[in-house]
C-alpha cells in the first residue's frame, strides 16, 4: 500500500498497481483489477522475462520498493505518492494528486514492459485515452483529468490501454508520474530530476513522522510499521480514519462476505485513540477526536454506526454485478448497509476516546460537554434495548453483553471526567444508578455459571471474544477468577491454533478465518494480567508472524493456510497490534519496577544499601 493521506493504492508482488481510488478513499476506482483483472484495470511495470520479486518499504517510510531478479539483471521499481510538509508544498506548484513509479536497472540489463490500462468508475466509464505529446497521455472524465507523464511513448495495446517496452542497462532509470486534476488547469509534473527530489522529500517526510513515535517497548519495528499503515488510512483534511482502503475482498474466498470498508466506524474510536495517544501521535489523535465530535453533531444524541470522511452518511449499499470479484468472490459491494443498524456500543467508544483526549491535556468546550451529557442521557434511556452489536450481523437485534459493557463504559467515563472537573453538568445520581444497574445486569445475566464464562448475549450460551474486553475497559481485572475462566473457555471453543482465535462461534460455522484483531486482544488480555508475561509475548509473536512480507495485516487470517482474508490492510488489526504492544511494554515496566522494589526490600532486610535507588524514585 502507498498513499498520500487522502487516497491509497495497492501494488502486487508482480509490479501491478491493481487498486486506486481518486481523489478520495471512497471514490470510484480508477484501477480495480483487484476485483476483476479483465474489467477493473491495472498499471503494471515489470520485466518481460521471468523474474523473482521481493518487496520492502524503504526504512520507516511508506515508499514501496519491488526488486525483480531475472537471469540477465536486477530491476528496482519504486512506488510512492509524494509527501511533504504544507510549507514545502507551498514553495512549488504540486499536482492535486500524484503517483510516481520509478524503475531503475541495478544490475545487468532487462527489458521492462509498461502497461497502463485505467478503467474509471469501477470499469463502467467510457475510456478515452488521448496522446497529447509533451502534455502526456490524457483521459478526461467530465471536468476531471487523469494524465500520465513519462519518458517513453506508450502506444495503444490490443488488450486495452497503452503499453511500451523499454530496454534498460545497469544505472539507467525512468519514471512515470500519474496525476489527477479536479480544480483548474492541470499541473504538469516534470519527470526528470524533480522525481528524485520528490522521492527524497517523501522519504524524509515519512522518516521524520516515524521518528515521532514515542515507543521504546518490544516489537518496535512492527509497531512503527503499523503506525505507518494507519497513517495511510487517515484522511488528512478531516482527521477521519477509514477501516480499510478496499471493498469486497472476501472474508471467505469464493463466498459472499464481501463488504465495503472505505468508511469510518465509530466502534473503532476508543482503540484508535489509545493507539495514537499511546504512541505519542498527538496531532493525529486530536484531529481524529475532533473529527469524531464534529461528525456526530448532525445526529446527536443519536449516533450512526459509520460515517464518510467528512462525517456524512455513507452511501447506500449497491452491488457491482459487472465485476467478478476477487478470486470469483461475488457480489462486489459499494456502500455499506450497516449504516442503518443500531449499535449501542458506539456511545462507550466515543466517550472513552474523548476521555483519553482530555487525559492527554485536551479541553472540551461547553457545547461538546453538553453533547457528551446528552450521549450519557441517551445511554440511560436505551441501554436495556437489544441492538445489532459490534459484529453487525444482519439478523435480529439481541442483548449483546459487549454493548452493555460499552454502555457501562460510557457512564463510567462521564462520571470520572466529571469527578476530575473536566466536564460539568453531569447528573451524577442517575448516571451512577444506571451504571450500577448495567454492572448487575452484566454480572448476573451476562455470566453463564454452567459454562463458567461470560457469553455473547445476556442469558446465552455462545461465546464471543468481545467479552474479554472487560479487562481492557477496566470493568474487571484480567486476573479475576471469572475472567480467567472466560479466557480458558474461549481458548477451548474459539481457539484456531497458536496466536489465532475466531471472533465468535457463528464465524466458525460461516467459514470465516481467525479474526486478526481478536488475536491481538488475546495478547493484550494476557499482558494486562490475564497470564504470564511470557505467554503474552508468545501470543503476540504468533499472531504477528501472520503479517505479509511488508508487515501488513488484513481483517482475518486463514488458520489452515495463513492467508490474509477480508479487506486489506485493516486499520482495526493494526490498532490491535499497537495496543497489545503498548500493554506488553506497560507490563514489562511494571515487572521491572516490581523486581527492583523486591530487590530493594531484600537489601534493606540484609542491612545493605538498596541496589536500585533510582527505581524507588
Amino acid at each position: 500500500m502507498i498513499g498520500d493521506g487522502r487516497s491509497a493504492a495497492l501494488v502486487s508482488r508482480d509490479g501491478s498497481l491493481d487498486w486506486l481510488c481518486w481523489p478520495r478513499f471512497d471514490s470510484p476506482s480508477l484501477f480495480g483489477g483487484l476485483l476483476d483483472p479483465r474489467i477493473g484495470g491495472a498499471w503494471r511495470i515489470a520485466p518481460t522475462e521471468l523474474a523473482r520479486s521481493e518487496r520492502r518499504y524503504l526504512d520507516d517510510t511508506n515508499v514501496l520498493q519491488t526488486r525483480f531478479h531475472t537471469a540477465a539483471g536486477t530491476v528496482a521499481l519504486t512506488d510512492f505518492m509524494p509527501a511533504a510538509s504544507e510549507e514545502e508544498k507551498r514553495q512549488a506548484l504540486w499536482p492535486e494528486q500524484e503517483l510516481i513509479r520509478q524503475v531503475e536497472c541495478e544490475r545487468g540489463e532487462a527489458e521492462v514492459q509498461v502497461r497502463f490500462d485505467p478503467r474509471p468508475d469501477y470499469g463502467r466509464a467510457k475510456i478515452n485515452l488521448r496522446d497529447a505529446g509533451p502534455l502526456g497521455l490524457r483521459m478526461e472524465m467530465g471536468s476531471h483529468l487523469i494524465a500520465l507523464h513519462g519518458p517513453v511513448k506508450l502506444t495503444p495495446a490490443a488488450e486495452g490501454g497503452a503499453a511500451a517496452r523499454v530496454r534498460l542497462k545497469a544505472g539507467e532509470s525512468m519514471a512515470f508520474a500519474l496525476t489527477y486534476t479536479a480544480e483548474g488547469p492541470a499541473v504538469l509534473p516534470p519527470v526528470g530530476d524533480l522525481v528524485r527530489q520528490k522521492l527524497a522529500l517523501t522519504v524524509d517526510w515519512w522518516r521524520r513522522w516515524a521518528a515521532r513515535a514515542r515507543y521504546s517497548g518490544p516489537y518496535r519495528e512492527q509497531v512503527v510499521r503499523s503506525a505507518l499503515a494507519l497513517k495511510l488510512m487517515i484522511y488528512a483534511p478531516s482527521g477521519a480514519m477509514i477501516a480499510a482502503p478496499t471493498t469486497s475482498l472476501p472474508e471467505r474466498v469464493g463466498g459472499d462476505l464481501n463488504w465495503d470498508y472505505r468508511f469510518c466506524w465509530l466502534r473503532d474510536a476508543a482503540f484508535t485513540a489509545r493507539a495514537l495517544f499511546g504512541l505519542g501521535y498527538q496531532d493525529e489523535a486530536e484531529a481524529f477526536v475532533s473529527w469524531m465530535l464534529h461528525a456526530t453533531r448532525l445526529t446527536r444524541p443519536e449516533l450512526r454506526v459509520i460515517y464518510d470522511v467528512y462525517g456524512e452518511r455513507n452511501p447506500e449499499e449497491t452491488e457491482l454485478r459487472h465485476l467478478q470479484g476477487y478470486a470469483g468472490s461475488r457480489p462486489v459491494r459499494i456502500g455499506n448497509a450497516t449504516r442503518d443498524q443500531l449499535q449501542l456500543d458506539v456511545y462507550g467508544e466515543v466517550i472513552e476516546a474523548v476521555a483519553r483526549f482530555v487525559e492527554s491535556g485536551g479541553k472540551l468546550d461547553r457545547e461538546t460537554q453538553k453533547m457528551l451529557r446528552h450521549f450519557g442521557e441517551y445511554v440511560c434511556r436505551h441501554w436495556q434495548e437489544p441492538d445489532n452489536g459490534i459484529w453487525e450481523p444482519r439478523d435480529e437485534r439481541q442483548h449483546h453483553t459487549h454493548s452493555r459493557l460499552m454502555c457501562w463504559v460510557a457512564l463510567d467515563r462521564l462520571l470520572k471526567m466529571h469527578s476530575e472537573g473536566w466536564i460539568s453538568g453531569i447528573p451524577v445520581e442517575p448516571f451512577t444508578r444506571h451504571r450500577e444497574q448495567i454492572r448487575r445486569d452484566i454480572e448476573g445475566r451476562g455470566w453463564n455459571a454452567k459454562l463458567e464464562s461470560y457469553t455473547q448475549v445476556l442469558g446465552g450460551d455462545t461465546l464471543d471474544t468481545t467479552v474479554l474486553l472487560m479487562a481492557f475497559h477496566d470493568f474487571d481485572e484480567a486476573s479475576s477468577w471469572r475472567m480467567q475462566r472466560t479466557y480458558q473457555r474461549h481458548q477451548e471453543r474459539l481457539g484456531a491454533g497458536p496466536g489465532l482465535i475466531y471472533r465468535y462461534e457463528k464465524s466458525i460455522e460461516g467459514g470465516e478465518g481467525a479474526f486478526a484483531l481478536c488475536c491481538f486482544w488475546i495478547a493484550d488480555f494476557l499482558a494486562r494480567g490475564g497470564g504470564r508475561l511470557a505467554e503474552a509475548h508468545d501470543a503476540f509473536a504468533h499472531t504477528a508472524a501472520h503479517a505479509n512480507d511488508l508487515g501488513l495485516f488484513a481483517e482475518e487470517i486463514d488458520p489452515k493456510t495463513g492467508d490474509a482474508l477480508g479487506n486489506f490492510p485493516q486499520a482495526f488489526t493494526h490498532v490491535g497490534l499497537i495496543n497489545a504492544a503498548l500493554s506488553l511494554a506497560e507490563r514489562e515496566e511494571r515487572e521491572r519496577s516490581h523486581d527492583a522494589v523486591r530487590r530493594d526490600g531484600a537489601a534493606r532486610t540484609e542491612g545493605r544499601e538498596p541496589l536500585l535507588p533510582e527505581a524507588r524514585r
Binding site: 498513499g3 498520500d4 493521506g5 487522502r6 481523489p23 509527501a83 510538509s85 504544507e86 508544498k89 504540486w94 492535486e96 494528486q97 517526510w205 513522522w209 497513517k231 495511510l232 487517515i234 484522511y235 488528512a236 483534511p237 478531516s238 482527521g239 496531532d283 493525529e284 486530536e286 484531529a287 475532533s290 473529527w291 464534529h294 453533531r297 448532525l298 445526529t299 446527536r300 467528512y310 462525517g311 456524512e312 468546550d365 461547553r366 457545547e367 461538546t368
Partner: protein, 158 residues
C-alpha cells in the same frame, strides 16, 4: 441614505439570519456555524471563538446590508422581492465561491489537497459547503433570502 434605518434593519436582519442558521444547526440540518468559523480565524479557543465570531458576524451583517441598501438605492426602490432576489444572489455566490475560498483565508482550516500532514484543523466546507451536511445549502439560501426580505421590506429611504 437613511443611516438610522440601515443600522436598525441591518441589525434585525442579521439577528434573524443568525437565528435561522443556529436553528438549522440545532435541528441537525447542518454543521455550518458562521460565527464559529469567523471566530476561529482569531483564536483556537472554541468558547472565545464563538463570542468573538458573533461580534465579527454582526459587523459583517451591517457591512453586507450596506451593499443591499446600495442596490435598493440604485434601483430606486426597496421591496421584499428585490431583497429576496439580492439574498438569493448573495447566498449563491457565498456557496459557489465564498466557502471554497475559506481554506485559503482561514488560518485554522485544512484544504482538500491537505496531507499527509495532520493537525487539528477545521474541515474545509467544500463546494456548496456540502461537507458540513448535505442540507447546508438549503439553510444558507433560506437565511440569506430572509435577510434580504427584511431589509427590502423595512428599509426606509426617508
Amino acid at each position: 441614505m437613511n443611516v438610522g434605518s440601515w443600522l436598525l434593519w441591518g441589525f434585525v436582519s442579521t439577528v434573524v439570519l443568525t437565528a435561522i442558521l443556529a436553528g438549522s444547526q440545532g435541528l441537525g440540518m447542518t454543521r455550518m456555524n458562521l460565527p464559529y468559523l469567523l471566530g476561529t480565524m482569531v483564536t483556537p479557543d472554541r468558547d472565545r471563538a464563538k463570542l468573538i465570531g458573533v461580534l465579527i458576524h454582526f459587523v459583517n451583517g451591517w457591512l453586507f446590508s450596506l451593499v443591499y441598501i446600495a442596490a435598493f438605492h440604485a434601483w430606486g426602490m426597496a421591496t421584499w422581492w428585490l431583497g429576496a432576489v439580492t439574498g438569493l444572489v448573495h447566498a449563491s455566490f457565498l456557496l459557489a465561491v465564498g466557502v471554497t475560498l475559506l481554506p485559503a483565508l482561514h488560518p485554522r482550516m485544512a484544504n482538500e489537497q491537505y496531507g499527509p500532514t495532520v493537525v487539528r484543523q477545521l474541515e474545509p466546507p467544500g463546494f456548496l459547503a456540502l461537507h458540513y451536511g448535505t442540507r447546508t445549502p438549503i439553510s444558507i439560501l433560506l437565511a440569506h433570502v430572509v435577510f434580504g426580505i427584511i431589509l427590502g421590506s423595512f428599509y426606509s429611504f426617508d
